[in-house]
Symmetry: C2
Subunit: 352 residues, 2 copies
């Protein structure tokens, strides 16, 4: 980009995406000033597809690649929508960006803020603070789009989905997880299902064991994904850093969001660790078509994602200020129902 | 079998398997009399493999096939065990039986008994009773054992896992789910991830839509698996019958077990709906090597599985009596810590 300000591509997307992104950008401006970043909006998603027949053309993809980072809202039409084929936007836009920009580390912090209502009982909550990070692999596994359908629509239909896992892909996220744990509580938990998925599970386990040797100060353990879903509700305090594959990461981060007060609060970063493409920052939640357009979506996850963005862009102090403003806002306002805009306004006001 | 009593194969397996099966058989005898069934024990699992080098030979498999039903405890060595290769017992014994005996419907009821401590907050629990059934497909998907490893142990390793799904396999479990819902609260929820796994997800959705046409009285909806893990902790009352694939079913039934008081209480049936092979009854929990041999495992899940067995063998009244005895036992004794044997004794005593 010509300007020396970092340039950010903004992809509001579908459903509540545009509503929460608006608040996220408001908070970003409040934290760093209106002029800190060069923002370029990209109008992509269900509406764009219906109007143009394009999900993401090559030119737009190339333009996005030139930014320093991407802010994304949410992508995807209503599950029952007959106008937009299933997976078209998810695979053609969201996953396309994660894959094309080699965003290998999908970072998803899960933290229960004091004062947030949680579906967990006091017997679980009272055991201590819940604060962990899921390092989800973002560029392979069952998300590779590798599968097919034979004899579609007949009684003899066969549909396959192939999970593709490479030593290259696994090692870089496992390294990231151990490095991260070394800055936190020195514990990595691998979540997989190696007793059934012996090939992929074997690869993940061996790489974790190898990488662990370079981190004698970090302990590591293992949970089958089914057992992990139990621990997330009975003993979430046991986790520091979880490392897992793309699909298991998708599943457990939604559950992690639920136990830490709802995915309305869960931010995420899709990091291109090699640094040759832009990283992307988005809330964990989806486009929530059922509540879209009503101004009731919680923008907190999108706002917290801006803290992840700032940390990635080398502005940790500003990132901390956003985290603190979010935390204070949650502590003082959780019992009052507020609109999307009111939440954004309150957090922005605390920052300026 | 030569006797006219139904013949049951008993496979206690590993870890806590033998401990809980002992109590399950005690309760079965109390409910139906010592002579009601012809029991044959099969000594299979980690120990058997270490001694003989065989997981399950063809002869034993053929012998098992001749029984009317199988009672299984749990299978699998400790995750960190270096003596038993990962997946050997799970794939060679447990999954082998499910697949060889075409146990297509893996039925997993989830019910929160009054008085059972749950990790969920009163705000969730107080909304109403939690009582649903997961119909998990048992013979295909990622459990097909279809995958491989290339360049193992090198920096260029590639490991694949293939999910195989057929119209034949999906339709029979979806039909089972709708039939079951028609005897309950008339609602089926398909859980999948069709926005990413478009091939397999497309197949599941189309079949659900087709089968639904034959059941105008049963409503149906859809949840992505990630959203389902949220609903299980925030609104488990929304479910009546869940139908899902093998891996998603594995994951959500453990979570369902956790929210309904722990997988120590969760029974399961692996039903061969065609009726040409024995069905198999087992607790949802695994072999729990960490607590094995200490007499502290909860045998309730294995005991409740006997109710599923009796219902399958056409003895619904006896099945109901076990369910009632379990329910009464839980209601009156949940606060007292009891040994495995004490729980079995109490439930058996209530039945005789
Ligand atoms: C929208 C969907 C494709 C996406 C995913 O499965 O990764 C979402 O659930 C997420 O977790 O970011
Ligand atoms: C032991 C394991 C192979 C098994 C499975 O994954 O099906 C278990 O978790 C279960 O749910 O019955």
């Amino acid at each position: 980009m010509t300007s020396d300000r970092p340039s950010i591509a903004v992809v509001p997307g579908d459903g509540i995406g545009p509503e929460v992104v608006e608040q996220a950008l408001k908070v970003l401006a409040a934290a760093c000033g209106e002029q800190a970043f060069d923002l370029t909006h990209y109008d992509l998603g269900a509406q764009h597809w219906l109007e143009t027949g394009e999900v993401l053309d090559e030119e737009t993809l190339a333009a996005l690649a030139r930014h320093d980072a991407i802010v994304l809202g949410a992508v995807g039409a209503a599950p029952g929508s007959s106008q937009v084929p299933s997976g078209l936007l998810e695979r053609g836009l969201l996953l396309k960006l994660r894959f094309a920009f080699d965003q290998d580390v999908n970072l998803r912090p899960a933290r229960l803020y004091p004062g947030v209502p949680t579906p967990l009982a006091p017997s679980v909550i009272d055991r201590g603070p819940i604060d962990f990070v899921v390092v989800r692999e973002g560029t392979e596994g069952l998300y590779a789009g590798n599968g097919g359908t034979l004899r579609k629509g007949t009684a003899h239909e066969v549909a396959t989905e192939v999970s593709v896992n490479t030593a290259f892909g696994v090692e870089r996220v496992v390294r990231h997880a151990f490095d991260l744990a070394a800055t936190r509580n020195n514990k990595v938990t691998l979540v997989h299902k190696h007793n059934v998925l012996v090939n992929a599970g074997g690869l993940w386990r061996r790489i974790v064991d190898q990488v662990a040797q370079d981190h004698p100060g970090v302990e590591h353990d293992y949970l089958h994904v089914d057992a992990a879903t139990i621990m997330l509700v009975t003993d979430p305090q046991r986790f520091d850093v979880i490392v897992t594959d793309n699909l298991f990461g998708d599943i457990i981060t939604d559950e992690a969001g639920a136990v830490t007060g709802g995915i309305g609060l869960a931010p995420s970063a899709n990091i291109n660790t090699a640094g040759d493409f832009p990283s992307m920052f988005e809330p964990v939640h989806g486009s929530a078509p059922d509540i879209a357009g009503r101004g009731i979506a919680d923008p907190t996850a999108a706002i917290s994602s801006m803290a992840l963005l700032l940390r990635h862009l080398g502005r940790p102090a500003d990132a901390d200020r956003i985290d603190e403003a979010v935390s204070a806002d949650i502590a003082s306002n959780r019992s009052t129902p507020r609109s999307t805009g009111q939440i954004g306004d309150a957090i922005a006001a605390a920052l300026s």
